[in-house]
Symmetry: C2
Subunit: 216 residues, 2 copies
């Protein structure tokens, strides 16, 4: 059970956002989550997972692949995205022209950045480069340029992406996410309950309210 | 554009619920939609469509088929269903033991019932038989028994299911639904906007509120 009372701060260990930079819906969730955190006075832990690994472990595929040959479904996904942008006043999202992007390096970088204490800054910078600036973050030189421009230790981060412990940690995160019920990105974990997709953010907030109202 | 002002009654022609009795999510939506109608002072038109026809026309398959071999996804769908039941206080839903049920006859019956002016009663009765009482409504004698017990003209309805005009109307509804963007069940149409699935009922209500606030 999570341990909270009234509106006091919830244990961050109980609130997790499992993300891959390659998922536009993870980015869109990242834009809205801070508002929920502020309203509910909580903080989510961001857990880097490799969506390609999640798909392999669950025998799933991306929506782009799954919906490729289904009439109307891709168009509807676009309608839903536009609706989300409008509702939340997000006006600088644009589809990455290099999509789908291999995110292996930047996800390993997220593991390292978190360990070094600049995880939040790194996540903001990389999400923006991917889904606002259209950068191709499968390329090392693009990663270097983006991180460097943001004042992050670009060379150091990229070098540590080859560290076996970092690689293993990302694999472990991914397997752990699947073991706990994930099959795609983004996934939210709220005190034992799981929620899939940006469209469940309202339910995430409702669950937080319920937990806080119960004081459990 | 829809023609409404303030909280006045919205034109029913602009609010549609496209359903197939065979979809548990259509049933669950049918349980919640009346509350939205009451809060927003509107009424939805129920349009019978054949989900099998929608799938054929869009090259789609049911979630049961699509998720069959994906780890965690079926379990998550069950979590979402339970969450929906709990939130809306629905305690008499049970999965139909004959699922998936061939709904061709009962959907044709819905077309006829609507033409005869007892569509709403018929829909309540058939949805309940399917998703509360576990009846096998692919069977003629089961349909007869259920409709008869509800005081509906069972023999007449079943007979008219073979009427070419009724058959054609259901096919036309189905093609029309796909032409307007559907690829599954349930679909909601609100003044030109489309919404897919029971999980979008909050968005359906938000759209109604926005339209009414704008008075357009």
């Amino acid at each position: 059970m999570v341990s909270i009372a009234g509106d006091t701060l919830m244990n961050p260990a109980d609130l997790e956002f499992h993300f891959d930079f390659g998922s536009p819906n993870a980015y869109l969730s990242h834009r809205v989550l801070p508002q929920i955190e502020a309203r509910r006075n909580v903080k989510f832990s961001y857990l880097p997972v490799l969506i390609g690994g999640v798909f392999k472990l669950t025998n799933n595929v991306s929506p782009m692949v799954a919906n490729r040959d289904i009439l109307n479904k891709k168009e509807y996904a676009q309608i839903e995205t536009n609706r989300f942008l409008l509702r939340h006043g997000i006006d600088n999202f644009r589809m990455n022209p290099h999509f789908p992007v291999n995110t292996l390096r930047i996800m390993r970088g997220a593991v390292y950045a978190a360990q070094q204490g600049f995880g939040a800054h790194y996540i903001d910078v990389v999400f923006a480069a991917m889904w606002e600036q259209g950068r191709n973050l499968a390329e090392e030189r693009e990663i270097l340029a983006v991180l460097d421009a943001a004042g992050l230790p670009a060379g150091e981060i990229l070098q540590r992406c080859d560290d076996p412990a970092i690689k293993q940690r990302l694999m472990d995160n991914t397997a752990d996410s699947v073991r706990r019920g994930a099959f795609g990105s983004p996934f939210f974990f709220v005190g034992g309950q799981i929620f899939f997709g940006k469209d469940k953010l309202d339910d995430v907030e409702r669950e937080l309210q319920n937990l806080q109202a119960r004081g459990t």
